[in-house]
Structures are given as structure tokens and as C-alpha cells.
Amino acid sequence: MSSAAKPFDWRYTPGLALLTAAILAFLYAPLLILVAYAFNSSRMVTIWSGFSLRWFVQVANNGDIRGTAVNSLIIAVAATIASTIIATMGALALERGNLSFGRGLVTGLIAMPLVVPEIVVAITTLIFFSSLGMHYGLLNLIIAHTVFCIPFALLPIQARLRGMGGTLEEAGRDLYADEWRLFRRITLPLLAPAIAAGAIMAFVVSLDDFLISMMVSSAGSTTLPVYVYGMMRLGVTPEVNAISTILLVVSLIFVAAALLLGRRYQRSV
């Protein structure tokens, strides 16, 4: 053993680099395979016969896909706006407020959508709406999505409030700024990138949701993932590959933006 040179280089463990590379390949190879097949011109999905965009054209011309995509966008935009406002207020209360009692209870309640298995959330929401006789189509879905988007929007905002500390706000208070001016002139501008990151996360989580949407949606309010699931059940087709690739790329772009945004303001603190 040549360990005499560096007897305790504990930062290097043989084989770990290889394992990590294998895990990353395991995580990403299936996605690359999907994207490759989406550009395959053959109808026989797994036989490669040249590059083609025809399946994307076919998806774009599919009225059902367009209609359900519009539903998904309406729900995602509405749920993002509602959950981001609610989450911003909640984060301010948790980090800057004076929550003398029930702090643990409130934190636990807000984290509930992250902890309870999705299938349980899905069927309890379905039972709730049906027991009240609430059949408002898209509105039911907007409410259900707002609930599970709140914790995702809250996390980056709360982290930013904790990270930036209260010194600037205290300085403002010393200069006799009232609470509203303080918020408009100091807290909100500093918080803006985190609010944007939280909103993007909420948007992606809403756009990607499948199980809750499937149980809560009715005939007219089907979302895109629910429709794509129906296509998948009928079999592997090039159209499914193309629409899945579109959804994949949309999520990737938004999340990469949110994560990079998050890192930039973390460094600026």
C-alpha cells in the first residue's frame, strides 16, 4: 500500500465517484431515452428511423391536448397567485411576527400537504367536495391546488426572511417608517427574488400534479397530466412521448430558473 504518502485522506473513498456517476446516469438516462424517442420519425416507437418533429406537430394539432393544456394553465396560474400571496403573508407572520402560542401547531398544519400521502389528500378532497355538493369544475381544482402549493411557495420565502435577518427593517423603524412603508420599501424589495422562486415552485407543482387532479376533476375540467395518463393507459405511442417531452422540458426550465434564482440571492446575503 502506498498509503504512507497520504495516510488519512478521508475525503477520498475508492468507488464512490463511480457509484455517484452511476446514480446520476440512473436518474437521467430514462429521461434522455424518452426525449430521443419523441424525435423518432417511426410509428414503431422503439425502432429508430430518423429525426422528425412530426409527433410534436400532431400533438399541437390535437384539440383535446390543447383544451386540457388550457385548463392546466388556468388552474396553475390561479393557484400560483393565491398560494404565493397566502404563503408570503404566512412566512412574514412566522419569521417576523409575534406568534406567542401554537407556533408548532401552525408549522405542522402548513407542512401537512407535504407529509400526508397524495392518495389520501386526493380522496379526502374528493369526499369533501362531494359531501358539500360542490361541483364547480375548475374552481374545485384551483382550491385543491392552492392547498398543496402553499408549503412549496412558503419554503424559499421563509428561508430568505430568516437569512436576511431583521437589521435593515430595524434601521427603517429607527427612522420612523411605519409598518406599511417598512414593508413596501425594505422587506418586499429584498424578498422579491424569493417570492418569485416560491411562485415558480408552486406553478411547477400545480402544473405537474396528477393524482389529486385525477380524483377531483370532472368531465369538463380534465387537466393535461390526467389526459396524458389516459393516453398512456392505451399504450405507448409517439404522441405520448412528444407530449411527455414537452411537459418535461417546461418543468426543467422553470425549476432550473427557480433554483438558480434561489442560489443567487443566497450568495448576495
Binding site: W10, T125, T146
Partner: protein
């Protein structure tokens, strides 16, 4: 900020989640004690039928016959969720340690790539494995072209493919919490252990693992809970024939139209997961107060 203003700010979050998530769970518990309406929903006479159904089936002459089918589905779900957790731990722990040992720049990049799949639609991530594993899929085609097999291997629609799908979905949930506990390890502890002639295995057993344990526990519950209730992996990769609790619950609200039984099943899952979380919170609370 005054406490009145604080209350006003926190109220919308508490009300929305309370009304549309907490109250529905209590309504679902109430539904589990009702009689099934064959057209969906429930009808008045309150019964324990839904819970009796876990172990017994009602025969044609209305007598109860012992039938362990549903118990087997529950046990299989617990077994697959536990197997997923163990595999994710075995793979996730070394990866988390590898990331901790890198330079700051590489750490950030690796964490980014481990986190990213978490935000991609689970529906699509699960579907990718159909492309790979089905009879005309890439794996079988490759094996056939290499001349290893003549007939396609049945790679889809069994417990193994469900397990693979679950591991693929939940692996990032294990790496991140372990990473965040390992990141705080004081390097001097490890150097001290090496100075005292500990080898790699001893350092892992005596220093790294004890410090990684809280993260591993957090990761285990983040993997186990959603894996137990998962719907997509058993449905798409198990072919919907191999039921797990998640797909069994979903069926009660669609094809089987037995809402009380579905509500009873999800009550049982929700209660058991809450119990585990409360136990963990109490244990970590006690550890903190001891420290």
C-alpha cells in the same frame, strides 16, 4: 409586529389548509363508518362494515367469510415501501457522503442534479420505465440484438418493476436529508479517528454513521410514507393487476364504488404515518433535551 397583525397574516394559510385539508380528513373518517352507495358516495346507516372488510368478505347468504386478500395487499405495500427505503438508504448514504467530500462548487452542482428530478412530473418519470422495460422496449431489444435472448423477457408488471419505479421516484428524498446532516460533521472528528488508527470501516461505523443517523431517519420517513401510498408505480409498472394500497384506494372511488372502504383504507394509512411521525418527533425532542 403586533400579535393581532400576526394573526391576520397567518390566518389565510391556516384557514385554507384547515378547511380544505384537515376537515376533509375528519369527514373521510366519518365516511368510513357509513354504508356504501352503489352509485358512489355513502348512505346513512352507520356500520363497521368497511373495517370488517379488511379481514372478512360477505358471502351470498350474508355470512362473513374470512378472506385475507386485502391484508395481503396491505402487507405487500408495506414490504415494497420498506424495500424501497432500504435500497434508497444503501444507495443514498454513500452518494451523500461523496457529495460532502467535494469542493463547494462541485457540491452545489451535484446537489442541483440530485434535486432536479424531484421536480419533474412523476407520471412522466414512471412512464420512461415502460419505454425501457416493455416487451419491445429498449432493454429487451438490446438483449435480443446481442443474441443473449430469443424471446423478450417479461421485465414489466411484477413486484420488481414496481420496486424499480419506487426507487427511481424517491431516491432524491433520501440523499438530501442525509447530506444536510453530514455537511455539518466536524472534519477534525474524522482526522482524530484516523490518528487513533481507525480504518475506513471503523470511521464509518463509529463516526460517520452515528452522525448521519438523524438524516437517514428523516430520509427514511420521506421515502417510506409516499412509497406506501404510491399509485403510479403499481398502476403503470405493475399493470394495475398487482394492487398496492394506493391503487386499491383509488379503485374504491372509481370502478369498485365502495367509498367507505376507500375512506377506511386511507384513514388507516394516514393514522399510521402520523403515529410514526409523532414517535420520531418525540424521540428527537428527547434527544435534544438530553444534549
Amino acid at each position: 409586529m403586533g400579535s393581532n397583525r400576526t394573526m391576520l397574516l397567518i390566518a389565510p394559510a391556516v384557514l385554507i389548509i384547515g378547511i380544505f385539508m384537515l376537515i376533509p380528513m375528519f369527514i373521510a373518517v366519518a365516511y368510513s363508518f357509513m354504508t356504501a352507495n352503489p352509485y358512489g358516495g355513502v348512505t346513512p346507516p352507520a356500520t363497521f362494515d368497511a373495517y370488517v372488510q379488511f379481514l372478512f368478505q360477505r358471502d351470498f347468504d350474508d355470512s362473513l367469510v374470512y378472506s385475507p386478500d386485502y391484508i395481503f395487499i396491505i402487507l405487500r405495500s408495506v414490504y415494497l415501501a420498506a424495500a424501497t427505503t432500504v435500497v434508497c438508504l444503501v444507495l443514498g448514504l454513500p452518494v451523500a457522503w461523496y457529495i460532502v467530500c467535494q469542493t463547494e462548487r462541485r457540491r452545489q452542482a451535484l446537489l442541483f442534479f440530485i434535486t432536479l428530478p424531484f421536480w419533474i412530473n412523476t407520471l412522466i418519470r414512471t412512464y420512461c420505465w415502460i419505454l425501457i422495460l416493455r416487451d419491445e422496449g429498449i432493454a429487451n431489444n438490446l438483449l435480443r440484438q446481442l443474441g443473449i435472448i430469443a424471446q423478450p423477457l417479461p421485465l414489466l408488471y411484477h413486484d420488481g418493476s414496481i420496486l424499480l419505479g419506487l426507487i427511481y421516484t424517491f431516491l432524491p428524498f433520501m440523499v438530501l436529508p442525509i447530506y444536510s446532516t453530514l455537511e455539518r460533521i466536524d472534519p477534525r472528528l474524522i482526522e482524530a479517528a484516523y490518528d487513533l488508527y481507525a480504518d475506513r470501516i471503523a470511521v464509518f461505523r463509529r463516526v460517520i454513521w452515528p452522525l448521519a443517523k438523524p438524516g437517514a431517519l428523516a430520509g427514511a420517513s420521506l421515502v417510506f410514507a409516499p412509497a406506501l401510498g404510491s399509485f403510479l408505480a403499481p398502476d403503470l409498472l405493475g399493470g394495475g393487476k398487482k394492487l398496492l394500497i394506493g391503487s386499491l384506494i383509488q379503485m374504491q372511488f372509481t370502478s369498485s364504488r365502495n367509498w367507505p372502504f376507500g375512506a377506511a383504507l386511507s384513514t388507516v394509512i394516514a393514522v399510521s404515518i402520523l403515529l410514526v411521525l409523532m414517535l420520531r418527533a418525540r424521540r428527537s425532542g428527547r434527544q435534544e433535551s438530553r444534549a
